[in-house]
């Protein structure tokens, strides 16, 4: 949770699209990369302009996520998204308004459908997991 608060502080401090972009690139470095074995078709999120992979598993009633992308921007966004949902129960995740959280993080422009960057598809896959 404290990790999430750190991220939130960092992103909310961004005063421009440019600063947000730079923050996301910094955050992308903290997202552990997936192995080639994990970057398989069945883990791919469809509808993204870049390749995005998402894996989750359930341990003791909480969901744990791993994700990767070939684009840094998306790795930064994924890091932010996962910090919101990581370790939560399925019921908690389903009752959350993740889009509102992301808007709160200054990331609303990455949610618009015209970007076709697939953030909405990622959220759908998280909720369905």
């Amino acid at each position: 949770m404290s990790e999430y608060l750190d991220i939130k502080k960092q992103l909310q401090a961004c005063r421009s699209k440019e600063e947000t972009f730079k923050s996301l690139v910094m955050l992308s470095k903290q997202l552990p990369r997936l192995s080639d074995d994990e970057k398989v078709e069945e883990n791919k999120v469809k509808g993204c302009e870049s390749a995005v992979w998402l894996i989750s598993e359930e341990i003791n009633d909480s969901r744990h996520f791993k994700a990767d992308s070939d684009a840094k921007l998306m790795r930064g966004v994924l890091f932010a998204i996962l910090s919101i949902v990581e370790g939560k129960s399925v019921a908690d995740i389903q009752s959350m308004d993740i889009q509102a959280e992301l808007t709160d993080l200054n990331l609303s422009s990455y949610l618009t459908s015209s970007r076709s960057n697939g953030v909405l598809a990622i959220l759908e896959k998280i909720i369905a997991s």
Binding site: S16, K17, E18, T20, F21, K22, V25, E49, S50, D70, A71, K72, L73, M74, N117
Partner: protein
Amino acid sequence: MAFDPSLLRSQFPILSQQVNSHPLTYLDNAATTQKPACVLKAVHDYYCTSNANVHRGAHFLSDKATNQFEQAREVVQDFINAPLKSHIIWTKGTTESINMVAYGLEHILKQGDEILITSLEHHANLVPWQQLAFRTGARLRVLPLTSAGEWQEEFASYFTNRTRIFAATQVSNAIGTHTPLKEMLLRAKQQGAFTLVDGAQAVAHYPVDVEELDCDFYVFSGHKMYGPTGIGALYGKQHALEVLIPYQTGGEMVLKVAYQATEFNVLPYRLEAGTPNIEGAIGLAAASEFLNKQDRNALLEWEQKLANHVYTRLKKAGGIEIYSPEKHTTLVSFSVPNIHLIDLNGYLDGQGIGIRSGSHCTHPLMEQLGVHGTLRASFACYNTLEEADRFCDALFDAMELLGDE
């Protein structure tokens, strides 16, 4: 009128805005151009003074609207030097124009006939022909043009006595290459094929003369030449348009309707079913007149200078793969190995710079180039040298920021 880029720019209201706290740098002109005030005014004035349905009512406004609408057709006829105004069919744009021909010519094709296109086509000049081939048992063949776009003698063998339709773009939207139209059209005509030229990427930059090109069909979109969206044209020679079976039927395109049969109207109305896009036609005519007033050669030189400036700077910087020819284009298509397109695009967007990233509706061409997509900076007459430099500087900053690891 002498060409002054800043004077010209001031005629485009949208360009003076700030985007993400930076001056808007719009370099996505191959996707669509911005509109000058005279085009906006023409559309606005039409609704304020003349709006009525055309070719129908015998009343003041209907006559006025019909006159303006038909005058617009004459302006566009003149703009591409078509011999008769009835040779200009209003459509939604390039895509609809090509589909109108692809459906309209279906009846001339039989199993084993060939439809020939080039490897530089936009999906709009590919998928309609592919689907037509599926429907008729004809074979779709692809002339393997290279990025340089030069004619090679071995291409001649692609034009056979089975070639019934030949369709090619004048300029590639993805990489800016000019196709060897003259040589190709000559071979296609020798085989008696119908010929179609996709002028979507040409009309904004090059004066077009369909008589000189001597193709059967010429198609383009208004929105890529400073006109409104949702309007474009199909030009056709008389006999070529007459061969087309109308792919839409209904009101406007008929002379006499009975339950047993319908007598179709004459050209151009035969191919214009339903209430047309009247404001669009008037806006497109205004855009044509806007271009007519300019020194077209000076505009083209300017656009090519901007593209060449960017080409030279990118080349010099190194580490950038450029897919466009060096000269005679108005756009630069490129990628940076190991940096994702959307990362570069995301950074540029933050700087108020709008360019296109992706496959540009040319999947097979991207495959030929061995990439998923490219970034494309495309120029219009209102772009400035400062914008070209701002784009290059921002790109280099992005590469530095994103290029580690």
